[in-house]
């Protein structure tokens, strides 16, 4: 059960990363940093807002939107300048962003560990199959499929979603058809960042908000995206659940090799299906 909820956090983060890659072809290494900023914003908002039941939800919304805004600013101010460059340049830029953002977070929030309390209604646990299960995880288990369903509706039932899917297939053609591709890129990047921010804000009450959380999540999210297939949303969903369960059960069954197991699966997938479980081979 808890493996599933870990999978849900991973899904939120990795689907954003996958989306950004699918459309802009940028491997956003700073995605973990967006997750961290989401969690830190959550800390500040929960502190600032009055101690009411609705404050937590408002904070969740504002924190994730704040990260979306950050993503939009970075896309317009930096990434837009290098789309036509070598992919290596893009990697270096997003890697540089990791360092810049972590230094800025240190300057803004200081070195101390932070934490967010769960809303009172979700602080306890409920019995499931005779075992206590934290109610906050139930919320996460409920929320992530809602987000997944929302994403599916957006991608397959709206015009905007259609444009995004079109952009993953053929960007030049889309531009030639008169679609403002630059604006679409900004929107997608902001949307992907929003998902990372939401993941961070939602995870904040279950962990310590601290420097270094960016790197931890980036590695795992990266594996999830690669295994699921770069740019494939359903792939991210399945692979996030797989990795979440693997991490929970792996440590019980093979405690010594649970870290290796993660990368072993990635290696196997890359050998057998280099484009990921549900990805499409490059043409």
């Amino acid at each position: 059960m808890s493996g599933l909820s870990v999978g849900m956090f991973l899904f939120l983060v990795s689907v954003g990363m996958s989306l950004i890659f699918g459309v802009t072809r940028i491997v956003n290494l700073a995605h973990g940093s967006f997750y961290m900023v989401g969690a830190y914003l959550m800390v500040t908002l929960v502190e600032v807002l009055p101690d009411r039941p609705w404050a937590f939800w408002l904070a969740l919304l504002v924190a994730s939107l704040g990260v979306a805004l950050l993503g939009a600013v970075i896309e317009v101010g930096l990434l837009r300048l290098i789309y036509h460059r070598d992919p290596l340049m893009q990697l270096i830029l997003t890697f540089g962003l990791i360092l810049v953002i972590s230094t800025l977070v240190l300057l803004a929030w200081g070195p101390d560990n932070k934490s967010v309390s769960r809303p009172d209604a979700l602080a306890g646990s409920v019995p499931i199959f005779g075992q206590p299960f934290p109610s906050y995880y139930l919320l996460v288990l409920g929320l992530a499929p809602v987000v997944a369903l929302g994403l599916w509706l957006i991608f397959y039932r709206t015009r905007w979603g259609m444009l995004i899917r079109a952009a993953t297939v053929d960007r030049e053609m889309l531009g030639a058809l008169g679609v403002n591709v630059a604006a679409l890129y900004t929107q997608v990047f902001a949307f992907g960042s929003w998902l990372a921010g939401l993941g961070g804000a939602l995870a904040a009450p279950t962990i310590a908000v601290a420097l270094g959380m960016d790197g931890d999540v980036l590695t795992t999210a990266f594996v999830v995206v690669v295994v699921g297939g770069l740019g494939s949303f359903a792939g991210s969903f399945i692979s996030a659940l797989l990795v979440g369960l693997l991490q929970s059960f792996g440590i019980l069954i093979f405690p010594a090799i649970s870290i290796v197991l993660l990368f072993a699966i990635m290696a196997v997938v890359l050998v057998v299906r280099p484009w990921g479980l549900l990805g499409r081979p490059e043409q």
Binding site: G96, L99, N113, S115, P134, S248
Partner: protein, 415 residues
Amino acid sequence: MRTRIAMWGVGAVLVVAAATGPVAAQSKAPIRIGEINSYSGLATVYTFPYREGLLMATKEINDTGGVLGRPIEFIFRDDKLKPDEAVKAARELVGQEKVDFLAGCISSGVGLAISAYAKEAKVLYVATHCQTSRLTWDDGHKYVAHTTNNVNQYVRALATKAATMPYKKWAHISPDYEYGHNVWDEFSAYLKQLKPDMEVVQQNWPKLGETDHSSYVTALLQSGADAFLSSVWGAQEIAFVKQARPFGLFEKVHYFSASVGNPDELDPLGKEAPVGAITPGFAWYDDGMQKRHPKLAEWVKKYETRAKKEPTLGASWGYASAYIIAEAIKRAKSADTDKVITAFSEGFELEFPWGKVIMRGCDQQAIPPQWVGVVRMNAKGRPVLADVEEVHGKDVIKSCDEVAKLRAAAAEKKK
């Protein structure tokens, strides 16, 4: 990396300039100490207060005439928590900056790496914030001294407390690396010695930095243990506590922790803090502590005026480290490496606002007082350490003979 190095470089220059400001009047050349520590990323929660304490002591020393009439000066380098970066910095400090000594470390891996370099380069290295006992014991040599607590002492102090309680069945959760194994081995061995009927019923080894602990929490709940020891620390332990709480783990199995009593964990936990947990910590705010150590309150006030923050254990360690280095140089009557090593190897004692610190000669290891208390909520609803009991490290630490045996065994292994 560049940006961070540049920022910290500028920062370090500014701090050093600020710290040595009044010294400019003194004509003699400063005694220069290269200080290598992790000044970026996740360890800053410990190293920033540590550096504040170090600079506070440096200023006090220099304002009262320095050491042998010379000011002391620390030149800071960021090791980014990596042994290879630390050794690179050590080479640069010794080769280009021509420092007299090396100091620093928060990561045990870094401490051991600099120590190995110091031995080879014949430079005195004064390890400060890292805590592995291997530093001065198994891997000890004359070019390394250690100015703060090692794992052996505070874990034995905690085990001493545990032995007074009626718990027989024990479990643990420890991060699967050097430190976690060190803590659990010391704790279980010493508790067995004090309480032979103690029995280990379950072991949990999450990886270092694990963020999801729910399966371990379930395992601990089902272990049938009366009590368990945790040596996960920092952000990882905060996550562990937050995840264990809804399961009611702390009501069912008594929680002993190597580090949850420090403010870097208690304050973020706030109302979710594990009330009743037994743990070591530097409880300067405790009434009993302040009664035993009348000068402590004044020191705390001085630190707070300077740092605009409450002190931490790390701050006291930084403060003590600067004074211990200065004392060794004073006793050597020279900043010459061999003479200062002789001063360390003869041993000495220093009084601090929190009690006596013994620098033991045989292993050049500091032996400070140890405190163990219980986590409680104070009147303002803030989690603190209460009912603090003091044991001096000298009453629990391994003897010089035992250390000699450890060193001999380690030498045998290398052959």
